[in-house]
């Protein structure tokens, strides 16, 4: 078992990638078989991921040398506490694939089914590979896999606006990928290595030069675009709102988190607190941008009528929370940033669960009624009580109402801002949360408390294959909130190791 679990981080990546590559082949004769294949592959990946996580928490991080070459000569896969996000990715992947079984035929023809499932598996594989790699260039390669599949998945439907949204995303996303690549190249030029741990060591040795600072700026710009931070968020609303709903769930739940994971890797694994480069001025600036992002996202969401557009803007707002949390760090006293880091990291998990619930619910509504505007969907709560009830739970959760999952991040980030001496961020956060709640209450009102739309007749509850994933996710929203110590216990070592503290570090309130 120990021998086997050692291989798991890389096994889950290749399972998803090879599974994706095989999907068109296994479904040559029967297109619909691609669903079962994708389902099987994602289950397998989930199994491998669980093994890896189990090993992580019993025996510590896994360092895996591809082809047996020791780093820095070969590529290292490094499964550490931040990589636990892969658990979420594979689990959510299963749910999204199950959900797609019925839903996706609503948006695409049967002809394209294998293509769709291939892309879903590849985007999952890209994200998993991205999150577990310990090599800077490998990071870029997986970044491209997931970005390309993301662009394609948005444009897979025949809708008119999708190609435009996808193109916008493609241009911004490619520029950001290239700026990440330039950052990698600069670091390589300065240090002569591509392995993250080795770069960190050699940066210490050579000391900071201008190029190292510029590389940091390039990384931040690149990953900010991927995460949709305020001035570079323009691609997100269209892309996330127009994509087919399961894809929106993946994009909003997981893909934007890739930007966060990338920043964590670069800032806290490569540059490192207490390292040669004092990057707190950058993170401070990022904190301010994050505060603006929270408000901007919440503000624009207020004026939307399209239900998925609202969710997309609220994703921007929530990315602001996460970035605010992870940017509250002090260079010389790492323990002061701990609580904020906890808040940010825990919201990476919680927002993924909550937002995918919301998008999948929206998908169920669209699937059944064909409407996506709030004004058309009014009064649907009486006809689809389970879907709308789940949507309500998720909406309360994202507004941070206790005891749901969204509250934990609020609590920790507020504690973090107080600890850090920047309560102004907490004000932005609370104001943002109020605005968020204001438009989610608009949705709840429309669904439950308004006169039903007469043109919606004979609508019943969504099919089982769509209900099961969203109910599981809704239970997740509640469990992650009520039994918050479970996710927190998982995330605690991640936050501590990011800040260079021992993984068992536990301050009061941590």
């Amino acid at each position: 078992m120990i021998e086997f679990s050692q291989h798991c981080p890389v096994l889950m990546t290749i399972t998803l990638i090879i599974g994706g590559a095989l999907t068109p082949i296994v479904s040559i004769s029967r297109k619909k078989f691609s669903f079962w294949w994708a389902f099987f592959v994602s289950l397998l990946a989930f199994f491998f991921c669980s093994c890896a996580v189990w090993r992580l928490y019993t025996m510590g991080p896994i360092s895996y040398w591809l082809s047996g070459w020791e780093p820095p000569y070969g590529i290292e896969v490094y499964f550490d506490y931040v990589s636990t996000i892969t658990f979420l990715m594979t689990a959510l992947g299963i749910l999204v694939i199950v959900y797609s079984k019925r839903y996706i035929l609503h948006d695409i023809s049967e002809e394209k089914l294998p293509t769709y499932y291939t892309l879903v598996l590849l985007i999952l594989g890209g994200m998993v590979g991205f999150s577990v790699t310990g090599d800077m260039f490998n990071l870029y390669v997986f970044l491209e896999i997931l970005s390309l599949s993301g662009y394609a998945l948005i444009a897979i439907t025949e809708e008119k606006l999708n190609a435009m949204a996808s193109f916008k995303y493609l241009v911004m996303g490619s520029v950001s990928s290239v700026s990440v690549l330039l950052g990698v190249a600069l670091l390589y030029n300065v240090t002569g290595t591509l392995n993250m741990a080795d770069i960190a060591l050699r940066l210490q040795q050579f000391g900071p030069t201008t190029a190292v600072y510029v590389a940091l700026v390039l990384f931040i710009i690149g990953f900010s675009v991927k995460a949709a931070l305020f001035p570079v968020h323009a691609w997100l609303p269209d892309a996330h709102a127009l994509a087919p709903s399961p894809v929106s769930a993946l994009l909003s739940g997981l893909v934007i988190k890739i930007g966060i994971v990338g920043m964590l890797r670069v800032l806290y694994c490569v540059y490192k607190l207490g390292g040669p480069v004092d990057f707190t001025s950058v993170t401070n600036f990022m904190g301010w941008l994050a505060a603006v992002t929270v408000l901007v996202g919440a503000f624009f969401a207020f004026f939307q009528d399209d239900i998925k557009m609202i969710f997309a803007y609220s994703s921007i707002s929530n990315i602001g929370y996460i970035l605010m949390g992870i940017s509250l760090v002090s260079f010389t006293q790492p323990e002061r940033g701990y609580l904020g880091m906890m808040g940010g990291l825990v919201h990476v998990f919680n927002h993924a669960i909550i937002k995918s619930t919301l998008f999948l619910c929206a998908g169920a509504l669209i699937y059944k009624t064909g409407f996506r505007k709030l004004s058309d969907l009014r009064g649907i709560g009486k006809k689809m009580p389970i879907t709308c009830g789940v949507l309500t739970i998720a909406a309360l959760s994202i507004a941070g109402i206790p005891p749901t999952a969204g509250f934990i991040c609020k609590w920790y980030i507020i504690l973090g801002t107080i600890e850090f001496g920047k309560p102004i961020f907490a004000v932005a956060l609370l104001l943002g949360a109020m605005l968020v709640f204001a438009y989610y209450i608009k949705i709840i009102n429309a669904l439950f408390f308004r006169e039903p739309n007469e043109s919606i007749t004979e609508v019943d509850e969504a099919p089982l294959s769509m209900l099961v994933p969203i109910i599981i996710l809704a239970i997740g929203c509640l469990v992650m909130g009520i039994f918050a110590y479970l996710p927190l216990a998982v995330i605690r070592p991640a936050a501590a190791t990011m800040l260079g503290l021992p993984s068992t570090y536990l301050p009061l309130g941590g």
Binding site: I25, S67, F142, T191
Partner: protein, 244 residues
């Protein structure tokens, strides 16, 4: 006005980049950290360790084989992206601009292409197979392979290619790149070694070199065939126009 702002912003960015570039170690010097850290081992032991005289091929397939697996996956993703956006060609519903063109294609072109394509394919195979010894490798060979299909299509028309390269086979060949890596990599895994290990001491120690060559060959062929087919498929998907 708007242009002015953009130019100004871009200029600031240029200054930022140039300041970084100026601070880098001087270009072309063997004392650079980029040259002195891990490269010596590659240059000195690479032939022995990685089993290729072409060190670049050694790095691509062996030292950084995982990257290359990602890379072939990127190509596959690109194909899937194109198919997601445009859809597969289908002779029942599609034709191409080449076929619809009213201009008769010249006999000379037809003859030359007919004559040359076999040699082009042969050359592509040479490049694929000889990647370990000389410049070349799977990607380059695959690109040439794809180009030969494109040349054929442009002269003899869409339907010929689609008939000669039926969808059933292309679907299999398109995934050849990742599959080649998988087949070669997973053998090491079953023998208790890390993924993508080509040297397996526990099995037939005398033939290590041969086994490694064989495995690398599988990968090279996979990349080449996969790349070529993907290029052809992308071209066909883009070239098609709907029938009225």
């Amino acid at each position: 006005m708007k242009k002015g702002i953009i130019i100004f912003a871009v200029f600031l960015f240029w200054l930022l980049l140039v300041s970084a570039m100026v601070s880098l170690p001087p270009m072309g010097s063997p004392e650079n950290p980029a040259y002195s850290h891990i490269v010596p081992r590659y240059l000195e032991e690479g032939v022995e360790e990685a089993g290729a005289h072409n060190i670049i091929t050694g790095i691509i397939l062996n030292y950084r084989g995982y990257d290359t697996m990602g890379e072939v996956t990127v190509i596959l993703t690109a194909l899937m992206g194109v198919l997601a956006v445009l859809g597969r060609e289908n002779l029942l519903h599609h034709t191409s601009k080449v076929d619809e063109s009213t201009i008769e294609r010249s006999v000379i072109v037809k003859c030359v292409v007919r004559l040359l394509v076999p040699f082009i394919i042969l050359f592509a195979l040479y490049i694929i197979l000889h990647g370990a010894e000389s410049p070349g490798g799977g990607f380059q060979g695959g690109a040439i392979l794809g180009a030969s299909v494109i040349a054929l299509t442009l002269t003899f028309g869409f339907s010929l290619t689609v008939k000669k390269l039926p969808l059933k086979y292309r679907t299999v060949f398109e995934s050849a790149g990742p599959l080649g890596f998988f087949i070669s990599g997973v053998i090491g895994l079953f023998c208790g070694l890390n993924f993508l290990t080509y040297i397996i001491p526990s099995v037939a120690p005398a033939y290590q070199d041969l086994i490694r060559h064989l495995l690398l060959l599988i990968i090279e062929i996979g990349i080449g065939v996969g790349g070529g087919t993907i290029i052809a498929s992308v071209f066909l998907a883009m070239e098609k126009v709907g029938k009225e």
